[in-house]
Subunit: 220 residues, 2 copies
Amino acid sequence: MKKVSESTVARLSVYLRLLTEVSATGVATLASEELARRCGTSAAQVRKDLSFFGTFGKRGLGYSVPELTAALRQILGLERRWRVALIGAGKIGAALMAYQDFRRQGFDIVAVFDTDEAKIGVDWNGLVVQADAELPRCLKGIDIAIVAVPGEAAQGVVDRVVAAGVRAILNFAPIKLNVPEHVAVKTVNMALELEGLSYALVNEARRSRRVTSRPAASRG
Amino acid sequence: MKKVSESTVARLSVYLRLLTEVSATGVATLASEELARRCGTSAAQVRKDLSFFGTFGKRGLGYSVPELTAALRQILGLERRWRVALIGAGKIGAALMAYQDFRRQGFDIVAVFDTDEAKIGVDWNGLVVQADAELPRCLKGIDIAIVAVPGEAAQGVVDRVVAAGVRAILNFAPIKLNVPEHVAVKTVNMALELEGLSYALVNEARRSRRVTSRPAASRG
């Protein structure tokens, strides 16, 4: 199988989400143009993304909603449940525990860790917080680690998570993590996304100032 | 100024975060190699990223931490405060309201909207929830809209947000949004990130099965 890009995999998730919505309305087939339009992409892109994984749909008939749904679920590894450990029992961790879509999609948070003595051993959102020192022992059988610790602690935590054999990490710490090639990392950084927006706003303003030759506002 | 890629802008945010940490420890200068190493990139990449915006640092001396901090803050549009509207007073919205880093970094959530009659007019995390119908009138002066509504409602909301003149959107809905070119969109989708990880786990397992010629597990 050819190397599939992260953006292709992300689009498969988007297709699956639309198919799930469509399925709930009782629609049985969907043309690739319609699928593409409702996912904000082109029919050619849909066909290319799916071509990595086999042949789907019939010319003139479109895709069978249940068949393509099942295929995408299998491709994305959603046909089974995943055991997830949460490292960091803070605000972000609490929001994640409340995020019911995780469980609905097959991701079960089954363990939570923290370094705070006041939290260890205490029930927290239905799980007993374990000591950070227990990581090596307690990560056996964990598929995915969610790292929700401060930036300066994150790389150290990740090194121990990787040493314990975990091969997938969802990172909320605002740093770039170094991991071996066999470990998959996805980073969610809302502050960074917001800064991307403020950059775009400032930059757009700078551009339009140049274009219209309006006097530059004081930087005050 | 040349078109700067989103990944460069994201790295600038990472550099800024490291500089802020370093600054708190009283360090006044930082070599590009050290900055690069601690941000998980190369010195050449750091120099290239910064070269879009001017000349920083002195050969053999490295970067002045306060000067580079100030420059990055200005480049990223963090020298001012931004007025943010939250659309969707649900679980994700509540987690965002509790996320104090937003405010610390200059992003003030000043308005919240929902369609749920039971929520409208009620105090919610310190703001009174406004009716969705008020969007066109109440988005005046808003810089950034956070869209935290269900997928099927998101594009409609975004169309009205854009029509009201908002030029930056942070999207938590699990769909790809269509917006005019002058509008910046960043999407945060935790379910999608998790699916990227489960894809990687399944795919890695498939690859190693092929490599070691172990019999393929039943698809059940």
